[in-house]
Symmetry: C3
Subunit: 332 residues, 3 copies
């Protein structure tokens, strides 16, 4: 949707310098920008490239000159202002849209769809499921029974949501994700050597504004619940096991794996391919580097402290060990 720079400046709380009546339709990188695009510069060294690009205008910071060849939107955090401008330009406006159930979708008679819900081709919504305003259920999704999905959610194609799962508002689920599947729990019968299934009858609750990547799997609790806190962002192919409790504004990069009953507190950042053992706890604000491993029952602690390696150690300590090893390797 087209917007004037004036409108954008107000929406993203930036200072406009230049012609506010100029209209833009999209965002782009500096090399790919067209004359209707907005670009951004977070680092002063790219400013001249941005000003020399085809873009209509530049989102930048107060290091920009007071007169320039293009209109500028000057923001405290240009990348954040640019992200918000993109949202304005690309996203739905929040007004109630016209709801629609595609003729090939199968929606059980007991399902409650709020106004503005879109149900795409071949989606299946089982009994007693509730879907909130303006939410879109993508083609081929299988939802329910007894699932609750909040308003303004975007469920991409091919997502399966098992019975009884709850999603808050504004949740984005990418294609192929599986939510609420059985946890991995068995009891071995010592006499026969066979594993018998431990009941996986708990639930999965996902709070508002969570984003879940493609083909990620999150298991329901065994007897209690698995919970993903508000604003947490989860990348592709991540595994979260039963009974995990993930806090708010947590970032979990691709292919990270959390086994059962783990606590991840608010503001934690987990790198790609991280592996965490059962009953471990990662305390508020910890950062764990890619491929790092946390043993079962361990605790990582320290706001803003970076950990790395398997078993995970504070980064400085780990780097010292790597250096020693490199030195010995050369001698050896």
């Amino acid at each position: 949707m087209k917007h004037s720079l004036q409108q954008i400046a107000e929406a993203v709380n930036a200072h406009l310098q230049g012609d506010g009546s100029v209209e833009v339709r999209g965002v782009a990188s500096i090399p790919s920008a067209s004359p209707t695009d907005l670009v951004f510069v977070q680092d002063q060294k790219y400013l001249s490239a941005a000003l020399g690009s085809a873009a209509a205008a530049v989102v930048t910071a107060d290091f920009a000159p007071t007169s320039s060849s293009k209109p500028l939107l000057i923001a405290e955090n240009p990348k954040l202002a640019f992200a918000r401008a993109a949202r304005l330009l690309y996203e739905k406006n929040g007004a109630l849209q016209q709801g629609r159930i595609h003729g090939t979708a199968v929606v059980h008679a007991s399902v409650r769809l709020a106004p503005g819900v879109l149900v795409d081709e071949h989606a299946v919504i089982a009994d007693d499921t509730t879907v909130g305003e303006n939410t879109r259920i993508g083609a081929g999704c299988c939802i329910g029974p007894a699932v609750t999905i909040g308003r303004e959610c975007e469920i991409y194609p091919g997502v399966t949501i098992y019975a009884g799962t709850t999603l808050g508002a504004g949740v984005i689920v990418h294609a192929g994700a599986v939510l609420g599947s059985d946890g991995f729990g068995y009891v071995r019968d010592a006499r026969t050597g066979r594993y018998e299934k431990f009941p996986q009858v708990g639930s999965l609750v996902i709070d508002d504004d969570v984003e879940i990547g493609a083909n990620t799997t999150i298991d329901r609790g065994a007897l209690d619940e698995t919970r993903i806190g508000r604003g947490t962002k989860i990348d592709n192919l991540v595994h979260i096991g039963h009974n995990c409790r993930i806090g708010e504004n947590v970032v979990i990069a691709a292919q990270a794996g959390l086994s059962g009953s783990i606590v991840i507190e608010n503001d934690v950042v987990l790198g790609g391919q991280v592996g965490i053992g059962e009953h471990a706890r990662v305390e508020q604000g910890v950062m764990l580097g890619g491929q790092g491993g946390v043993l079962p029952n361990k605790i990582l602690r320290g706001k803003g402290v970076a950990f790395w390696g398997t078993p995970a150690q504070p980064l400085r300590q780990y780097l010292r060990q790597l250096a020693v090893l490199a030195r010995l390797g050369k001698k050896g």
Copy 2:
């Protein structure tokens, strides 16, 4: 389904202490139990919490007092008895159910469906496929052609089973799993530098009582077969490559990856994110800790021996190395 404690005690081979006419409808954890739930206590220290909970009755061991405020089911392995009670309360009773093919499913005329088969919305079953009694094919699954699925299987939504795959009885496949896909095999043409596809025309055979997690992928053999032995349990997002032979009662945790032609013998336990190179062999009863790595062609041996690290070593040896490294890191 509701059952009396008397019925449950008989079914799970537990000793009933107290009023056997009390009826329960489900299982729960101690904090979440309602008055129609059964709870269990494996460790004596939780017994008083269980007796103080809202639960109808407690599955416990012979450390329980001979008189108590709730009826007790006393079992040699309370967790196992509890798991079996849950099965009784939640699972199908084994009687032949009423079969049903949803009107939106597409089942080829040559498919043989046994009595009691459920085929859900938009499932597709291609020609010459056979499905056994009481098996459920979930919504949106794509099965076949020439697939054989045994009785009492549960195939969750969105599963794809490639041509010619065989599943035994009682197999559970969670949503999004892909069974029998092509293995990863190419021959490089030294002249052009291009990789040409090696034929992937073998098969995949999955024995009885295997459970396969969400979005897990298991490839067919290149020329021969990939085989998963009876009672083996596989978690989410696991990859098993072509020509692997996995034994019976093997446990494979989430995101483990097995490349081609690997042998995993009976009773092996593989931790999460384990990686195993081609042609390796893990012998009976070995346990390999999370993120451990086994090089191509290597053999891990020793019933009940725990291995860890990359390359995987006996746990004690690995821990000694970690300790040495930590000490050097402090000095360094």
Copy 3:
């Protein structure tokens, strides 16, 4: 499809020794071969087993005797000749097939399907998508809008391709793969602590003859494009993040993970579960062993050089370190 040895010899550029009128219908391993199968021997020690098998004929090299009990196809690279023979025996002949859209598929009126396109059950093709000659769209796939797919592609069931993605000719995509999903990019608002979505409005371009494994995910660019070069082969459950540029004839084994803005040059081989940090570069012809890790912004360099470990080091150096560590562990 049945072919005479004479036809095969010509097609795969092998020297025929024996009766060229013998017909074969398939390929097999030596133990599983039937009398209409072709087998191959790359290593002389298996030749007598092959000659003693039930196979109709053997593809082998010039170490074979000039007289033998079975017809031989003698090739410079027997495995390559065997792979090409299999292609001849199993693959489509390249002639234009009869196109067909299954009655349950939903194809938008604006979609352009070339002759010979197959669209299977419940597939959905959204507006402005183009599909080339002889391409097959599997059951339950969700494609588009504005996707371009080349000729002779095979898209297996349950694949989701997001808007605007481009696939070249001869691309194979296995079941459950997700192409063109949003990258994982956020900007944190320091005031609220919340992550806001950075625009993911770039594209994904996949060149000719790429093969993509089951449940693999490849993200679109944030503002620019993600690109997979011609002839590159990607295994199951691989993750490729936004803005990555993968060269030609690259091999990426299962569960490897590439975060954002990585460059992988031509002819690189990445082992299973490899993890690569953002903005890293792996230069032409490098081989990185399974589970190896490359830190953000690092460069791996050296045609034919093998790297291993985390952080990845030249193999020899890494092995020396392992040896030192093992020695210290014994003392320690």
